[in-house]
């Protein structure tokens, strides 16, 4: 595993949404490089274009200008898997079938994919619910299925859009720890969107802070804390506090800017 090669590169990405009445510049000139096996966190004020960037990387949205390169090491595996922001679990499939979905699409034999899916359900603490339908589950449980589904498909690149946003604090802590454990064993290149500075520092190798709309890259910070990480000891380290402050300064500026922008209806 050569960690110096690039897995993702975005060059001068710009995305403009045209609606009937107006144009929204969601992303403007975003340049980004993610190393192979790196865990990259994206932070930014709401509406700054994080999801849009992720959707472009996933091939679900076409950029208006610019170029995206994703590198596949192993062509057997799917290139990307997405954990979507919000509820994206199929209500018409049992929990286990939801987790199997990516494998089923790829034509993995039934027995094998059931085994894999069960493994990830167990990791998420949901094996008891395998045969239920999602409408019977809580929002937090669905979000965990969402994560399990992406992991089970074993992609080269994981794209996660606020996967723990809907969870309560306790479950979030447990799942962050769990995610760290699974991820540190997998070496998957990961782009992870979050609203939480804590979470970004806990999980990320690097953190990208984006500006308020139009989304540009404001700063990139190296977290540089050793792995495997332990959530509690990280939170009490002086480095954590220092980085937290730095990121908060960047974000505060942007959040205030976004508020003024919408507040006065102009610049």
């Amino acid at each position: 595993m050569n960690t110096n090669t690039e897995a993702i590169r975005a060059e001068n990405l710009t995305k403009i949404f045209k609606t009937r009445r107006s144009e929204v510049v969601a992303l403007e000139n975003v340049n980004l490089s993610v190393k192979d096996g790196e865990f990259l966190c994206l932070l930014g004020p709401s509406g700054c274009g994080k999801s849009t960037l992720l959707r472009i990387l996933a091939g679900l949205e076409k950029q208006t200008y610019g170029k995206v390169y994703l590198k596949a090491k192993n062509t057997e595996k799917p290139l990307t898997a997405v954990v979507f922001q919000g509820d994206s679990i199929f209500p018409w499939m049992k929990v286990i079938d939801n987790v199997e979905y990516g494998l089923r699409i790829r034509g993995v034999p039934a027995r094998e994919r059931r085994e894999i899916a069960l493994k990830y359900l167990k990791l998420m603490g949901l094996e008891k619910f395998a045969d239920l339908y999602p409408p019977q589950l809580s929002g937090g449980m669905k979000q965990r299925i969402n994560v399990a589904r992406a992991f089970a498909s074993d992609p080269e690149i994981l794209l996660m859009d606020e996967p723990f946003g809907a969870l309560d604090e306790q479950n979030r802590l447990i799942l962050q720890q769990e995610l760290l454990r699974i991820w540190e064993g997998s070496g998957k290149t990961t782009v992870f969107i979050t609203h939480s500075i804590d979470e970004a520092l806990l999980l990320g190798d690097r953190i990208v802070v984006m500006t308020a709309q139009p989304g540009r890259i404001k700063a990139i910070l190296d977290v540089g804390m050793e792995r495997p990480r332990d959530i509690l000891s990280i939170k009490s380290s002086p480095k954590f506090v220092k980085l937290y402050r730095e990121i908060w300064e960047y974000l505060r500026e942007e959040v205030l800017k976004a508020r003024n922008f919408t507040g006065s209806g102009g610049k």
């Binding site: 679900l60 898997a81 979507f84 199929f90 089923r104």
Partner: protein, 277 residues
Amino acid sequence: MNAVEQKLNRSIKIEEISGDSDKSQKGSALFLKILSFLSPLFLLLIWEVLAKLNAIDVRLFSSPSRIFAALLPLISSGELLYHTLISAGRILLGFIAGAVPGVILGLSMGLFPPVRALLMPLVAVTFPIPKLAIMPLILIIFGLGETSKIFTIAIGVFYLVLINTMAGVLNIDPIYMDVARSFGANRIQFYTTVALPGALPMIFAGLKLGMGTALLLIVAAELSAARAGVGWMIWRAYDMFDIEKMFCALIVLAFLGYIFSYFLDFIEKVVIPWKNS
């Protein structure tokens, strides 16, 4: 006023307390069942009493006991069953003949914008035409035989199923399509794992509406040029001024409607296990 309020408060309290335990929840469900069983019984009773008191004209409105007396020979002679089976057969055939193309076309129109663009104007223009208004035309084209009756029912069912199915596909949350796309689903996989299951609840809503229309249309279809069927019985009873027989036929129609919707509910539970499970 105060007393009433107190009573209200108390009944609310009782409900709250009883709502806690599973047992009394079952008890109150039973109570509700009994209530909904009692209301028709109560209506029949009033009807009978009014008839007995001569408060209503039994020659026009008949009475439960008279209808019951007329019903027995109709059943024992097999006459009623004969007409019922004939009508049920027509409804079933017409229903299938309308629902199957309705689902297929509705799915295609929902999934493929060109198909939608092509067919939507035709559907929009022809849908509002009352199906009864085209019955004479159907009779001229298909003659007086079975085909014209089945076709009348089929056309009524077809539109309702088609429109509901298409709406079902169009209303699927786009995030599910994104999931399918992001995992690389091809067209057929998308169709079987997202479009069809996602539209099923609406398809069933359409089927149920279609069933109601089928019952409506069978009576009209059997008015003209039929020699059997429940609808024919009604029109025949009208000619003979046989009010009791007419009511017997109405009972059969209600019964048919109940059986068919029970059947549809059953299939829905099997096919859509995720809904209110």
